[in-house]
C-alpha cells in the first residue's frame, strides 16, 4: 500500500491547463529506458480548482507485487511518484519522488 500527498502552490488557476499524477517504475542504466505505469490520474478542469488551493491532497494506491526495486550492474529498476503540471502557455513542470518497493535495495 502506498500513501502519499501532493500540493500545488504559487500558480493561478487560469494558468493551468491540466495536472497528471502517476506512480511509475522505470529502468535505468545502460539499456534504453523502459517505463511502466501503475497509477495514472489526469485531473480535468473542474477537478483542478479543488487541487490548486495549496493544501495537501492524499492519494492511496495498492502497489503491485512486481517489479521490485533493483540495483544491478547494467540495469536498475526504480519506482517513483511523478507529477506533471501543464500550463496554458505551453510550459511544463514535473516533479518526482522516488521510493523503494520490496526489500531489495542493493545489487544481488
Amino acid at each position: 500500500m502506498l500513501e502519499f500527498e501532493f500540493r500545488v502552490q504559487r500558480v493561478a488557476r487560469d494558468e493551468v491547463d491540466r495536472l497528471e499524477i502517476s506512480v511509475v517504475w522505470y529502468t535505468e542504466g545502460k539499456g534504453t529506458e523502459d517505463l511502466g505505469v501503475h497509477l495514472f490520474q489526469a485531473l480535468s478542469a473542474e477537478e483542478l480548482s479543488s487541487v490548486l488551493d495549496g493544501k495537501p491532497h492524499p492519494i492511496v494506491s495498492t502497489l503491485p507485487s512486481c517489479p521490485l526495486s533493483y540495483e544491478g550492474r547494467l540495469l536498475n529498476i526504480r519506482w517513483c511518484v511523478r507529477l506533471r503540471l501543464y500550463l496554458n502557455d505551453g510550459r511544463e513542470f514535473s516533479s518526482e519522488k522516488p521510493f523503494y518497493l520490496g526489500h531489495l535495495t542493493r545489487e544481488v
Binding site: 497528471e20 502517476s22 511509475v24 529502468t27 542504466g29 545502460k30 539499456g31 534504453t32 529506458e33 523502459d34 517505463l35 511502466g36 505505469v37 495514472f40 489526469a42 507485487s65 512486481c66 517489479p67 521490485l68 533493483y70 544491478g72 550492474r73 547494467l74 540495469l75 529498476i77 511523478r82 506533471r84 520490496g102 526489500h103 531489495l104 545489487e107 544481488v108
Partner: protein
C-alpha cells in the same frame, strides 16, 4: 539573457528576453540534441504529412487513370501499374502512421501513453485469458508444457544450440558443391583439345583448402554433438520462489566422462541500447547460486582434481630405486617417506595383478603439510608402474560417478536453496533479468561443456 545591474547591486541580475536563434537542423551532443525539440517534432510531423498526401495523390491518379481511361497506355497493368500502386499505398500508410505517432508523442506525456498502452494490453488479456498475467514476469506456459519423468517439469533447453552445427553443414555442403562443379570443369577442360585451363586449376587450390577446412569443422561439431548427447533437466515446481528449496534431476546422455561438473542457478542482466546507428545487446552474469550436488559427485570431482594436480609432479615413490614389479600396498606408500604429509585417509582402491593393470589407492589428505616438490601434498597414489595409457584408462574407470554411457546415462539428483532476498525474473522492452540453470562441465575427451535452461523466479507475493 541576463545582465548585471551594477548600479543597484554588484550581485543582482536583470533578465532580458531575447529570441532564440532557431536552427533548422540539430546536432547530437551525447544523449541530447541541440536546438528546439518543438521545431524537430513539427518538422517531422510535416514531413510525414507530406508523405501521406503524396501517397494519396499518386494513388488516386493511378487508380482513376485505370478506371476512367482504361484504353490509355500509361501505367497500365503489366507496365508498372502494380508497382506504382504498391509504392503509393506504402507512402500513404507510412506517412499516416508516423504522422499520428508524432502528433501523439507531442500531445501526450510518456506516462499517459504508457497508461493507455497498458490499459489496452490488460483489456486484451482479460478477454483472451481468465488468469491474470504478470506482464513483466516470464510466461510459465512454455516452461510447464513438458512434464518430467521423475519430477514435475522438464525444462526447455536453450535455443540456438544446434545453429552452429546447421550452419556448418549448410556452408560445407554449398562450398563442396561449388568445388565439385569447378573440379568437373577442370577435368573436362583438361581432356579437351584446347588443353587444361591453368588459371582455373590455380584458382581451385584455395577453394579446395577451404573445402577441407569446412568439412573438418562440420565433422568436428557433429562428433561433439553426438558424443556429448542431450541434457535433460527436471524441476519439482515452477515458478521458483525466494526462500524455498527445489529439487533438480539432471540426466546426461551420450558417451562422455566428466572430470568436473557444476550445477548452478545463474542470473543474467540483458540490456538493449543504441550505440550510434547500431542496436547492441549486452549480457552480464550478476549472480550465481550453486546447487547442492550429491556427495559422491563432489568427492569424485575433488579426487579427480587432486589426481590431476598431483600428476604433473613426480612422486618420491616414482624414483628409480622405488620401482618394483610388485603392486605397492597403500600402507607401504605411507611408510615410504611420505610421512611428512598430514593425516591420510584411504579411499577406494583397486588392486591389480602383475599383468599390467594399474593399482590405485586414492587418499584424501587433510592439509598440505608436505614439501612442495614432493607433489604429494594433495594425494597419494599406489600403483603398479606401467604405461601412461594404462594410467589414463584406470583413471577413467576410477571416476565412474561422472560417466555417461549410451546404455546408462549419467543421472544426478540435487537441491537448490534460494535466498529469501534474491531478485525475481524481470523483462521489459529493452531490459531483462533472466535466471537460468547452468550446467558446466569439463571432460577428458571433449571441449568444455556448457548448457543453460531458463527458469522463472517470481516474487513471493505474486503467487
Amino acid at each position: 539573457m541576463r545582465t548585471r545591474d551594477s548600479a543597484n547591486s554588484p550581485t543582482s541580475w536583470d533578465f532580458t528576453y531575447v529570441a532564440k536563434w532557431v536552427r533548422l537542423w540539430g546536432k547530437k551532443r551525447g544523449d541530447r540534441m541541440s536546438g528546439w525539440w518543438v521545431v524537430g517534432s513539427v518538422g517531422e510531423a510535416a514531413f510525414f504529412g507530406i508523405l501521406f498526401l503524396l501517397g494519396i495523390v499518386s494513388l488516386t491518379i493511378v487508380v482513376s487513370w485505370q478506371v476512367f481511361w482504361p484504353e490509355s497506355n500509361i501505367i497500365r497493368p503489366g507496365s508498372g501499374f502494380w508497382l506504382t500502386f504498391t509504392a503509393s499505398l506504402a507512402f500513404a500508410v507510412i506517412g499516416l502512421t508516423a504522422f499520428i505517432l508524432q502528433v501523439s508523442q507531442t500531445l501526450a506525456s510518456p506516462e499517459r501513453r504508457s497508461a493507455i498502452a497498458t490499459k489496452v494490453k490488460s483489456e486484451h488479456q482479460r478477454r483472451s485469458d481468465s488468469e491474470p498475467a504478470h506482464v513483466n514476469l516470464p510466461n510459465l506456459d512454455e516452461m510447464r508444457e513438458s512434464p518430467g519423468i521423475k519430477l514435475a517439469y522438464r525444462l526447455p533447453g536453450q535455443r540456438g544450440e544446434n545453429s552452429q552445427l546447421i550452419l556448418s553443414a549448410l556452408f560445407a555442403t554449398a562450398w563442396n558443391s561449388i568445388v565439385a562443379v569447378m573440379l568437373v570443369v577442370v577435368i573436362f577442360q583438361s581432356t579437351s583439345p584446347a588443353g587444361p585451363n591453368y588459371f582455373l586449376i590455380f584458382l581451385l587450390l584455395p577453394f579446395l583448402l577451404v573445402s577441407v577446412v569446412a568439412t573438418r569443422w562440420f565433422f568436428k561439431l557433429f562428433r561433439i554433438r553426438t558424443g556429448i548427447g542431450p541434457t535433460a533437466v527436471e524441476i519439482n515446481a515452477l515458478p521458483m520462489l525466494p526462500g524455498y528449496e527445489y529439487q533438480l534431476y539432471i540426466c546426461q546422455y551420450g558417451r562422455v566422462e566428466f572430470s568436473k561438473l557444476s550445477v548452478a542457478l545463474v542470473a543474467f542482466e540483458e540490456t538493449t541500447f543504441q550505440q550510434g546507428t547500431d542496436v547492441r545487446t549486452e549480457v552480464v552474469e550478476v549472480s550465481r547460486i550453486e546447487a547442492n550436488l550429491p556427495a559422491s559427485v563432489q568427492s569424485d570431482g575433488e579426487k579427480q582434481g587432486l589426481q590431476e594436480s598431483s600428476d604433473s609432479k613426480a612422486l618420491p615413490t616414482e624414483s628409480p630405486e622405488n620401482v618394483s614389479d610388485m603392486p605397492i600396498m597403500p600402507s607401504e606408500v605411507a611408510e615410504a617417506g611420505l610421512g611428512q604429509m598430514g593425516s591420510e585417509q584411504l579411499g577406494q582402491s583397486n588392486q591389480a595383478g602383475r599383468e599390467g593393470e594399474q593399482t590405485w589407492a586414492e587418499t584424501e589428505v587433510s592439509n598440505s603439510s608436505s614439501e612442495p616438490d614432493s607433489g604429494a601434498g594433495t594425494e597419494v597414489e599406489s600403483k603398479d608402474i606401467g604405461s601412461e595409457r594404462r594410467k589414463r584408462k584406470d583413471r577413467s574407470g576410477k571416476s565412474a560417478g561422472l560417466r555417461a554411457e549410451p546404455e546408462k546415462p549419467l543421472e544426478l539428483d540435487c537441491t537448490l536453496l534460494l535466498p529469501a532476498d534474491m531478485m525475481h525474473s524481470f523483462h521489459s522492452e529493452h531490459s531483462a533479468l533472466v535466471w537460468r540453470i547452468v550446467i558446466q562441465g569439463e571432460s577428458v575427451k571433449w571441449p568444455a561443456f556448457y548448457r543453460s535452461f531458463p527458469v522463472a523466479v517470481y516474487p513471493r507475493s505474486a503467487v
